[in-house]
Symmetry: C2
Subunit: 452 residues, 2 copies
């Protein structure tokens, strides 16, 4: 907790105790809502309940969007139903939806009981969308304009609907059957003549997503076409909601975190590292750690079944860690590049051959450089090892890099074909695989040389 926060927590607590409502109101008027929420999160549980009875409803609703899930649970558990209902009604639909997604089921039921029939219907619809679908993150507060309207009529609609809407920067144009036919920016409306017809100046070529599409789909389109919002439609082309670029920013950050966690051989954590419980961190790390530990036994058995070679050439053992590490590093380099390429560039299964060719070229050149450096290093500076083994080791490195890069480049694509997340082909999995390949190559080459 920052020092500033500590001071504010003490101030707020004393104001609430002494019923200095004017100061409290002034505090919330002057403080950014995100910062305010960070402070409220630190207040005592009784004090928070008291606070929510004092502040204006709209401030309370705004706060709710930024409070930690623990605080929200505490509030929904202890405020009376009417109070909850009035707070819910002040929230933008996507914020409400986000809050509900984080609450335990029994509290969601409590909120539903407190809601007006209309709000309840809306919440129920939201809850029926799958997690991470476009429907689950969209906002239903937006403005639609009829295609036959004039600019003047459109401005009237915007003034009427817009006050409640989360964004009015882009409005969606619908036909008589309420189907999406175009979009128009507020800027274009402002700069057009009053008597112009919307249909004549609207954008016809419009991007959209379906409620059941994955949120990543919306992120890809918004990022590719540099647009600020995208309509979410159903199969009849009726606009049910919008997703704005700031929601997408959260999606992109979340997905990158998930990918980084997966590539680090973990099930992605739901919350932040600091807030997550020890138990959830362990659950996220344990499975892969176990699987990889057991599968690494296979690599070990390669060593034990080649004991006789190690007895004949004992200095081979010194290079086992280096071969394993180099194999793992090369594999994780290739897989990290390909996995990220699949996410941000329009790369896909179609690029399979292109990727393999590229990895082969890269491997060949990397391999030659490492071969030369390694041979000279061992031959010149490790006289007790000798040039023969230097060449065995370097040749293994050359082949290992080729294998590791091909495996690292191909496995993420294989995951895609199997409809799995490419990031789940984590570096550690690839490491285990190419470790084994590398050691097999090592002993094959060594036994070949021994027979010479």
């Amino acid at each position: 907790m920052e020092e500033n926060t500590v001071v504010n927590v003490e101030l707020l607590t004393s104001w609430i105790k002494n019923k200095e409502y004017k100061k409290i109101r002034h505090f919330f008027d002057e403080t950014n809502i995100v910062d305010a929420a960070l402070i409220v999160d630190e207040l005592g549980s009784e004090v928070i309940l008291h606070l929510f009875k004092i502040i204006r409803k709209d401030v309370g609703a705004d706060l709710l969007s930024y409070l930690s899930s623990d605080t929200i649970e505490h509030l929904t558990n202890n405020l009376n139903p009417e109070h909850i209902q009035s707070l819910m009604e002040e929230l933008y639909s996507d914020d409400l939806n986000e809050i509900l997604n984080e609450l335990p089921d029994e509290l969601v039921t409590k909120v539903l009981q407190a809601a007006t029939p209309e709000l309840r219907k809306q919440i129920n619809e939201f809850l029926s969308y799958e997690e991470n679908s476009c429907g689950s993150i969209m906002s239903v507060d937006f403005v639609t304009i009829k295609h036959t309207n004039t600019i003047a009529q459109a401005m009237k609609t915007i003034r009427r609907q817009g006050k409640l809407a989360e964004t009015i920067n882009v409005c969606y144009v619908v036909d008589d059957l309420k189907k999406l036919v175009g979009s128009i920016s507020l800027k274009d409306i402002l700069f057009a003549k009053e008597e112009h017809i919307i249909e004549e100046i609207m954008e016809h070529d419009i991007h959209y997503v379906y409620t059941h599409d994955d949120q990543e789909e919306a992120a890809k389109i918004i990022s590719k076409y540099d647009i600020t919002s995208i309509p979410v439609i159903d199969s009849t082309k009726t606009v049910l909601g919008i997703i704005t670029v700031d929601d997408i920013l959260d999606v992109v950050e979340e997905e990158a975190t998930e990918d980084i966690h997966k590539m680090g051989a973990m099930t992605p954590l739901d919350g932040s590292y600091v807030e997550s419980s020890t138990k959830s961190i362990i659950m996220s790390r344990m499975p892969w750690l176990l699987v990889l530990m057991i599968s690494a036994t296979f690599t070990g058995s390669i060593i034990s079944s080649n004991q006789e070679i190690l007895v004949l050439l004992p200095s081979l053992a010194i290079f086992i860690p280096m071969l394993m590490d180099t194999a793992g590093n090369a594999g994780s380099q290739a897989s990290a590049m390909v996995i990220r390429g699949l996410v941000v560039d329009d790369m896909g299964v179609k690029d399979f051959v292109k990727i393999l060719i590229k990895e082969t070229q890269v491997s060949f050149l990397l391999g030659i450089v490492l071969f030369i450096i390694n041979t000279l290093r061992i031959g010149l500076f490790m006289p007790n090892v000798g040039w023969g083994i230097a060449i065995i080791v370097s040749l293994t490195i050359f082949i290992t890099i080729l294998l590791a890069n091909l495996v690292g480049g191909a496995l993420p694509l294989l995951a895609l074909v199997l409809k799995q997340d490419p990031a789940s082909m984590a570096a550690p999995l690839i490491t285990t695989l190419v470790d084994a390949l590398s050691l097999m190559t090592y002993f094959l080459i060594a036994s070949y040389f021994l027979r010479l």
Copy 2:
């Protein structure tokens, strides 16, 4: 190339050859500019030059923002200076800036020669901002309103300045000395009464960045406070530009890619994987591969200096790969979580102790589970190895996990203290380090047991 693109490339080429200007114009009116650019990129180099002489200037400028850098180089090299100048003038300043950043120096000089004095001044200013600074990605097309204006006057300013501005959804309010004093959304202006004074309804609590701030700073603020744009100011609080959330989306994606590449032990690639040359891919992978290969020799020397223990207990060798892999995996798990936490959550050096405590708790519990499973697995299913070695191996795993998690958790923070990017404490570096620690532990425990 998608089939659709192939068809469109052929169509466009034949239209250009046959001078069917109406069809070409219609094509660009109907096709999304991003898709159009993908098609134009595939046209022959002569055809592209011809095309730019045919299409309207504003379409050409729009296209420029989305064409590949190769195509842009070709165009700036071959179009006459007046043509380049007129295209440049149509571009939004941040797009122009992005294009110039990608051009080779001699072409930038050519563009500067072609520019009007006013435009040249603006370009020169942009070029003086450091790469990845807020100044280098900001747009200078925005609207400022005087604090003493009425809503009616503000609307006039917006109509006058706004046509050129990239976004008018948020306007920035300045005082008589042109210093930033607040912000106001277009929505609030639309819903306010004409005679209201801006100062009375504007937002006073406003976030901003300086031109020299890193772009990540802007990304953090925009993402934390859910705002759609942020003003970029100089030391006198004069607004020099704005950064919008869609620019930030690119920044966030770029930074995540950089982190993933660094964590995969690579220097981040500048372009996309498919577009990058084999040479640049090799240059990005070679350094770490070499450094880690050589440092892994140290791990190897731990094995060779403990040969006598391996001779006494040969079955110890079987478990070396498993110990190394488990150490590496645990280390990369901890570092991935902490590195990502430093980027997306407000984690920092202040959380050092908290992180170490958490990692110790996690390690302890993970270690116990792996200890039990591993002892039983070896003891029960590998009778030729025996319970004694099972316990040596499992005890090593327990200690290794503790060490690996502490090293993986602490190194990214150490990087932060040394003003380095935490992601550069890549998993492979940590792997090499904890591999060595793990083997040292292994032989220490084994020699202790042997002496018993």
